[in-house]
């Protein structure tokens, strides 16, 4: 008994020392985290809180001018606006869904094609990344010139083939589909690269086994490759969807303020920008941006949800 007590007494300083080290480590952890926390606080949390605060005010003209709190009025005004807000919500959803679906399909097709080595693969890969390296603003101006209804080369080609002229971005009805296709042209390569990376990590045996069992190319793709590629595909779709929801430069460069004369490509981003810079209605603009942020978070949660029993 005596010897046990001595052992315990002898062990106490060691335990205290471990506790001190553990406490110091916890403190050190905060010190090491400080730069990242300061960045997140100043660059993300503060602007979000500031925007949230503005959303409950009637700030107009200048954010540093006197303004009053108006409760949820800006949110109610936005949600009750059937002239600009809800059509913008619809266009945002349509643009994102249309572009991402096409980019996924084409990206997957190209990734499957480029999975195996063939002559000219390196050249194809180089060509594919060119749209990715170009700024959206430059792409907008480039396509604006190509698709110009009067002087553009696209109509020159169409008429030389005996086809009727098209207005493309000059048309109220053709603008949104045209811009979706431009987005597909620019961002399909990113989907291809992401999916190629995913395909490279897949084991070859299941596909080989299916081949031995007599499965055709489509069956191997549908029942073997696609399920295994699911997690990568999910991540790629989420990343691209969030990016497509936020598309601004391309739409603004081609259609200007308000998304065109009939607001034909006015998405939530363009609408909020117009409220801020063209109308100087900072309170309402902040409310729209808060609603937009909530919508993006909801979309991400929705897309990241998986059927029960399946893990990422």
């Amino acid at each position: 008994m005596t010897s046990t007590t001595e052992v315990v007494r002898a062990a106490r300083p060691a335990v205290r020392g471990e506790r001190t080290v553990a406490r110091d480590n916890r403190r050190l952890k905060w010190v090491m985290l400080a730069p990242a926390l300061a960045f997140v606080g100043l660059m993300i949390v503060f602007p979000l809180l500031y925007t949230l605060n503005l959303a409950f005010t009637d700030a107009f003209g200048a954010v540093n001018a006197a303004h009053s709190y108006v409760g949820p009025r800006n949110f109610l005004d936005a949600l009750g606006d059937t002239r600009r807000f809800w059509p913008a919500v619809g266009r945002t959803a349509l643009f994102t869904a249309g572009a991402v679906v096409l980019e996924t399909v084409f990206g997957l097709a190209l990734a499957m094609l480029m999975r195996r080595a063939f002559r000219g693969l390196r050249l194809l890969r180089t060509l594919l990344v060119i749209p990715l390296l170009t700024t959206p603003l430059a792409i907008g101006i480039l396509w604006l010139l190509i698709l110009d209804p009067t002087n553009g080369i696209a109509n020159h080609l169409l008429t030389s083939m005996g086809l009727p002229r098209q207005e493309f971005l000059g048309s109220v009805s053709q603008s949104l589909p045209t811009l979706m296709l431009i987005d597909v042209w620019q961002w399909t390569p990113m989907m291809t690269l992401l999916l190629l990376a995913g395909l490279a990590t897949l084991p070859g045996e299941p596909e080989e086994a299916a081949r031995v069992d007599g499965a055709g190319a489509w069956q191997r793709f549908r029942y073997v490759v696609l399920p295994m590629l699911g997690p990568t595909l999910g991540i790629a779709v989420v990343l691209r969807s969030v990016d497509a929801l936020k598309t601004f430069d391309l739409l603004y460069a081609t259609k200007g303020p308000g998304g065109g004369s009939d607001f034909e490509v006015e998405t939530l981003n363009i609408y909020a920008y117009g409220l801020t810079f063209d109308y100087q209605e900072y309170g309402l603009a902040s409310a729209v941006l808060v609603l937009f942020t909530v919508a993006i978070v909801c979309v991400v949660i929705l897309l990241r949800r998986r059927p029960e029993g399946r893990s990422a």
Binding site: W30, V31, A34, A38, G61, N64, D148, T276, Y279
Partner: protein
């Protein structure tokens, strides 16, 4: 082993770390948001923000003279009009001191900037300086520079609506809007990709050019403080301009601002073009124009109420209230908008806002004779605004432009004009409330 008797640094507790982090963050935020009131050094340049315009390019040639005069470097940043406006919004919202001289559109931005308290009061400077000769500026331009009894800007460029036409296609310019419609329709050959008329058709951008048609039909944006865009004269003007662009204009007209419409005329694909007279040099430059030998100029044709083109101060100079170099900034305005410089710049073909320059034959000699005649005529009969005179000009233009787009697309103009009229009436009430606030 004896314990170390020296006292170590106090342990960093979670609470003390929190205080430290809050202090650093608060200090950084305050430092970032503070307007920076330190006195500028001799090396601090005078910062001039301007639009990429022929005036800015012309004045920049003479800037070394000014630098020598005040012994300070001048830094000029030139942006597009929209970028410039957004830049002011961002920088002046943060009370930024990095803008001294502001080039701005008095009719588009002055009321709002004055409401925000962003412009320095120049009243004492312009009226107290005999050599500056404030009374020499055109009266309409002086009126637009004055808000609430204070002079907040100085006009530097004026514009009037002008009719550009091809003298190889029409012997003489149309005198009336009916003539313009008839000739435009006759000359249109869509199969050959040639159009009788081209003009701005974009909802917001076209409002200023459409204003000359509105006035010619006897309308205005507001009449006695109430919306005028639902009145029969306005509806007729909407229908007229809509039909002109729909039946005689190029495809995609609703997407056309100055940047899209001007090249169509410059490339020889349209017979008539109505836009500001200040852009005429674009059609005389063989690098961008194929019509330099065939373009001619005339006043905008008359409507039922005669010819009523707009005649406005399109660009002005102001001093930022947050500038730390307000005296030097005023010196720049005094130099750039002074009688001598205006005469020099007008002699380069850029129409200014001084009566003395307009009455001097030497300064008019640089303009083509028919353009000079059209300018003089428009100055006499012109209307002093080309857009609604409100705080939120951008929103007002968006509302006013809706029936115009309906007209170009072949929709029901009266129905859209009624709807826009109601929206504009609500807008004017709210805009007045903001102004009073």
């Amino acid at each position: 082993m004896p314990a170390d008797p020296r006292p170590g640094p106090p342990p960093l507790t979670r609470r003390s770390f929190g205080r430290l982090a809050a202090g650093v963050a608060g200090g950084a935020a305050l430092a970032g948001c503070a307007p920076g009131r330190g006195a500028p050094s001799r090396d601090t340049p005078l910062r001039v923000m301007g639009v990429n315009h022929v005036w800015s390019q012309a004045i920049s040639k003479y800037v070394p003279e000014f630098e020598e005069l005040i012994g300070r470097r001048v830094s000029m940043s030139l942006l597009t009009a929209d970028q410039l406006s957004n830049s002011y919004n961002v920088k002046l919202n943060a009370s930024g001191t990095d803008i001294d001289v502001m080039m701005m559109r008095a009719l588009q931005e002055q009321l709002l900037f004055a409401h925000n308290g962003w412009l320095a009061d120049l009243t004492g400077r312009v009226t107290g300086d005999a050599a500056f000769r404030w009374a020499d500026f055109l009266q309409a331009a002086r009126e637009r520079s004055t808000t609430g009894g204070k002079v907040l800007s100085v006009p530097i460029v004026t514009e009037r609506a002008a009719l550009y036409y091809r003298k190889d296609l029409v012997a003489k310019p149309p005198a009336t809007l009916d003539d313009l419609m008839e000739t435009s329709l006759r000359l249109t050959d869509r199969g050959a990709n040639f159009f009788g008329f081209v003009g701005r058709g974009q909802r917001n951008g076209s409002v200023s050019q459409w204003s000359s048609f509105l006035y010619a039909f006897g309308g205005d944006f507001t009449i006695d403080g109430r919306s005028g865009i639902g009145r029969p004269e306005a509806v007729t003007a909407y229908e007229y301009y809509g039909r002109l662009l729909r039946e005689a204009g190029p495809p995609g007209a609703t997407n056309m601002t100055l940047e899209q419409a001007m090249p169509i005329f410059a490339q020889g694909k349209a017979a008539f073009y109505v836009d500001a007279d200040a852009i005429y040099t674009n059609f005389l430059d063989p690098k961008v124009s194929t019509v330099q030998d065939t373009v001619a100029f005339a006043p905008v044709p008359a409507g039922p109420r005669g010819a009523r083109p707009y005649n406005i101060p399109s660009w002005s100079l102001a001093v930022s209230r947050f500038s730390l170099l307000q005296d030097e900034a005023w010196e720049f305005l005094r130099w750039a908008a002074g009688p001598e410089m205006v005469a020099r710049i007008q002699a380069d073909g850029i129409p200014g806002a001084r009566t003395s320059a307009w009455s001097a034959p030497a300064t008019l000699a640089s303009f083509p004779p028919d353009l000079a005649a059209a300018m003089r005529r428009s100055s006499e009969i012109g209307v002093g605004h080309d857009r609604p005179e409100v705080l939120q000009v951008g929103r007002a233009r968006d509302i006013v432009g809706r029936p115009l787009v309906a007209g170009i697309l072949g929709g029901s103009v009266p129905a859209v004009a009624r709807d826009a009229d109601a929206e504009f009436a609500d807008f004017l009430v709210r805009d007045n409330r903001y102004r009073e606030a």
